[in-house]
């Protein structure tokens, strides 16, 4: 009797495991494409100097943290949640990129203005 009970216990455990695995497989596939797109955006932001522009650096940091979080979620199989998290991360990375470019342009415009002032001074 005892062994039967344990058998039933084993069976239920196996069923539970099966149910879990079915539940897992019913989740969408891991968001590898989104992960690639997000990390590409982060790289692009880094390349245009986002780490050197405080506001842009902040958003790039947010993007990276969210990407790390998404990778943890992927490991846990929470792919839907991970997809959403990666979308957030990409939005932050893109914002970092746009901010860095705006800053670059601001510096260039300032440089042009400085040249004008220099010209006026030398005259």
């Amino acid at each position: 009797m005892r062994s039967r009970t344990s058998n039933i216990g084993l069976l239920s455990a196996a069923l539970a495991a099966l149910a879990l695995s079915v539940a897992c497989s019913s989740n969408p596939k891991p968001p590898t494409e989104q992960l690639a797109a997000t990390t590409a955006s982060e790289r692009a932001a880094t390349e245009v100097g986002a780490t050197e522009v405080p506001q842009a650096a902040l958003h790039l940091q947010l993007a990276k943290e969210q990407t790390e979080h998404a990778q943890l979620l992927i490991k846990k199989g929470e792919n839907t949640r991970a997809q959403s998290m990666l979308e957030r991360a990409q939005a932050d990375a893109e914002l970092a990129l746009a901010m860095a470019r705006a800053e670059q342009e601001r510096a260039a415009a300032q440089g042009a203005l400085d040249k004008v002032h220099e010209l006026q001074k030398s005259n």
């Binding site: 958003h59 949640r81 959403s84 998290m85 979308e87 957030r88 939005a91 932050d92 893109e94 914002l95 746009a98 901010m99 470019r101 705006a102 670059q104 342009e105 601001r106 260039a108 415009a109 440089g111 042009a112 203005l113 040249k115 004008v116 010209l119 006026q120 005259n123």
Partner: protein, 307 residues
């Protein structure tokens, strides 16, 4: 129960406004951010990006209506807020780009003005330099012209001097042939025999004398600026006063004849010397014949008396 009814009522009323529950913080921020950005320059300079932000916000609002409490709603709102900020950043970039272009245009136009001004200054300087160079050249030209004129004048003078020398020489050679010519301290002395020129005891020139004197006059006229002295001399016979008078008249006759031939009167003087300066002994007839004479003295230029 009552609370649920109020909640449902709120939901129905709020459905029009798109909210049933208190919206998540993310959605509130997304709305505010979009509102603020769409009122800025993004509407004009980054309309495409603003449109994307708008679509993103609509998706978040729709998710909120479908499931106000869902994490996905919050995520979509978060993303919508970022999209609005991206539109803002891209608009900023465009504004800076325009500012830069404007500054560069201004710089170039200023630089162009400066270059024009510098060019103008340079041209003025060049013109001034050219003027002074022209002046210098003209001065040099004038100088060289003056030099040339001086050189020419000197050459002319030298040529004239050479010609004058040549004429003098020719004259002396001519005189040599017809009369005795001697170079003395007092000048070139042409001695003409009295018997050739005059009738005895007279001061009238013989026709033959005129031919001789014509040659002398011709020679003299080749050097018209010399002072000429005509001296009459006699032998020792006769009285002192008679001889002086005769010799003076004879000298005068020769002088008058030379003047009549064209020699300047103010350059020629006549003097009677009498028997005072014999050139031969008066004891013999030959000697006395030699002493009766007229001397025409062409005085050296240096010793010529100023007029």
């Amino acid at each position: 129960m009552k609370k649920a009814v109020i909640g449902t009522l709120f939901c129905v009323l709020g459905g029009i406004a798109g909210c049933a529950h208190n919206p998540p913080q993310e959605l509130i921020e997304a709305r505010q951010t979009y509102q603020s950005v769409s009122n800025g320059p993004a509407a004009v300079v980054a309309p495409a990006e603003l449109h994307k932000a708008s679509e993103s916000l609509v998706a978040a609002e729709r998710a909120y209506q479908d499931d106000p409490d869902a994490q996905r709603t919050r995520d979509l709102a978060y993303i919508a807020q970022r999209k609005a900020l991206i539109a803002q950043a891209i608009a900023n970039r465009e504004m800076e780009s325009r500012r830069k272009a404007e500054n560069e245009r201004y710089y170039e136009s200023k630089q162009g003005e400066m270059i024009q001004r510098v060019k103008g200054d340079l041209n003025q300087t060049k013109a001034r330099l050219a003027q002074s160079e022209q002046g210098r050249r003209e001065e040099a030209f004038r100088h060289s012209t003056a030099l040339n004129q001086e050189r020419q004048a000197r050459a002319d003078a030298e040529q004239k001097a050479a010609e004058a020398d040549k004429r003098s020489k020719e004259m002396l050679e001519a005189l040599d042939k017809m009369a005795q010519v001697k170079e003395e301290e007092r000048g070139t002395v042409i001695t003409l025999s009295g018997s050739v020129l005059f009738v005895t005891n007279e001061a009238t020139l013989l026709p033959n004398a005129q031919v001789r004197l014509n040659q002398v006059a011709e020679a003299l006229l080749s050097t018209p600026d010399r002072d000429v002295l005509v001296e009459g001399h006699t032998d020792s016979r006769g009285t002192e006063s008679y001889n002086l008078d005769l010799s003076r008249r004879r000298a005068e006759a020769v002088r008058a004849y030379l003047v009549s031939r064209g020699y300047a009167a103010e350059h020629i003087r006549a003097e009677g010397i009498g028997k005072a300066r014999p050139i031969a002994p008066n004891s013999s007839a030959d000697g006395r014949a030699n002493n009766r004479r007229v001397e025409i003295i062409i005085q050296p230029k240096a010793k010529s008396e100023p007029r």
